[in-house]
Amino acid sequence: MSHLTLLIAEDVSKRFGGVQALADVSFTINHGEIYGLIGPNGAGKTSLFNVLTGIYAPDGGTFNFDGEPLERVKPNEVAERGIARTFQNIRLFQNLSALENVMIGRHVRTRAGVFGAILRDKGTLAEEAAIEKRSYELLEYVGVAKRANDLAKHLAYGDQRRLEIARALATEPKLLALDEPAAGMNATETQALKRLLEDIRRDGITILLIEHDMKLVMSVCDRVLVLDYGKKIAEGTAATVQNDPKVIAAYLGGEVTLNLKGA
């Protein structure tokens, strides 16, 4: 394992009932890169996310994260190890304020318990103040600080997506896994998101990005992994992947030839 690599996935498999969601998928993600994960609907992208973040146990294969194996680990332990994620269909804490959402992200990096909460000793108060400060900073960082005290559910869609990123960043991840962050955004919002992703990367956080907005993927990702039917069909730079006939076929359809007269 080179010091460059952050995550190594080897032969990861997952079945759901009769469907092979992931079939022996292997890849590596390097420190500091934006690694894209694309593929048609149902290709297994979100399944890969769920297996990586401990929501499902894989049927086979291993992950090695930051030099140590990541196996049979619960989702909260995955977060503790340094992988934070967002969800395809936004899972914010809807009835809490934007600020509180981010503050919850600090949970895993803070310590105060019952007695601290009740007694409010100096250490706890200092920790609380630090949590609030850091959370405000993160809201500013993603550009929703103005709505810090609004309930998450009352934020505009694009803001919710950015808030979810801020919440994930609050856990101080080494790897930030984003599941379709641009979904539902307009062109301007997507541009802002692109800048945000580049900022995050510049600050030293590696990004794993599932995205359907190909313009975004092609312009921001260093390397891209393409899944189809749970299998890896291509991996490489945006340009190589874009011209790979297998990828074009997977997206536009090509492998299947119709017997137009036979039907």
Binding site: Q160, G184, D213, L252, G253, L258, A263
Partner: protein
């Protein structure tokens, strides 16, 4: 100039704060096979759900067979001949294949004709006939798709809405599914097909619409769209 069988006027659908369909116009004439294609998340499925009342619409009108069906619940539409095969097939896994087909004919009460139609579906998909007593949950993805289509046909639809019938299927199955779509179309059933697999969808359709971020950006004869570089751009994010 006949009125189209299905006509959407400025349809807008929003959910969870996201405007998924931003005012689209679309029409399908009697007997046509029309496809609505576009990348993931473009709003295709939401459009279909808006038509069948599964997703409340924000504004706009939906006309079917000359009647305003805006906001009508799905179970009433089936009786009017509008049937839908949902994304992910939605077969009843704990029911047998025969029972699934019977569910398709739920809105009908002509027993003898229903029996004939079951045989007709089995003729279309012999695999299903072999397994008629098995529960649908034991079928493979492709077989489930066939069952879902067969079940929709059991209602004797005038208009069939198909949501991504090729999703998650192996190439051989995709081929079979598309051949079936064409066969059904030839029998005179009007079809609105939603697909991610643009090439196949355009090959079988007479006309097509391309959807991007909740809007229809291209439309026309399927043959022309097939060779239009803009379609490819819409999918792969290339500068057109």
């Amino acid at each position: 100039m006949t009125t189209p069988l299905l006509e959407l006027k400025d349809l807008q659908v929003a959910y969870g704060g996201i405007q998924a369909v931003k005012g689209i116009d679309l029409s399908v004439d009697q007997g046509e096979l029309v496809c609505l294609i576009g990348a993931n998340g473009a709003g295709k499925t939401t459009t279909l759900k808006g038509i069948t009342g599964l997703q409340p619409i924000k504004s706009g009108k939906i006309h079917y067979a000359g009647e305003d069906i805006t906001g009508k619940p799905a179970f009433q539409l089936v009786r009017k001949g509008l049937s839908m095969v949902p994304e992910g097939r939605g077969v009843f896994g704990a029911l047998t294949i025969e029972e699934n087909l019977a569910m398709g004919a739920y809105a009908r009460d002509d027993r003898a004709a229903i029996k004939d139609d079951v045989e007709r579906v089995f003729g279309l998909f012999p695999r299903l006939k072999e397994r008629r007593k098995q529960t649908a949950g034991t079928l493979s993805g492709g077989e489930q798709q066939m069952l879902a289509m067969g079940r929709a046909l059991m209602s004797r639809p005038k208009l069939l809405l198909l949501d991504e019938p090729s999703m998650g299927l192996a190439p051989l199955m995709v081929q079979k599914v598309f051949e079936t779509v064409m066969a059904v179309s030839k029998e005179g059933v009007t079809i609105l097909l939603i697909e991610q697999n643009a090439k196949l969808a355009l090959e079988v359709s007479s006309r097509g619409y391309v959807m991007e971020s909740g809007e229809i950006t291209l439309q026309g004869k399927a043959k022309q769209l097939l060779s239009d570089p803009k379609v490819r751009a819409a999918y792969l994010g290339e500068a057109a």
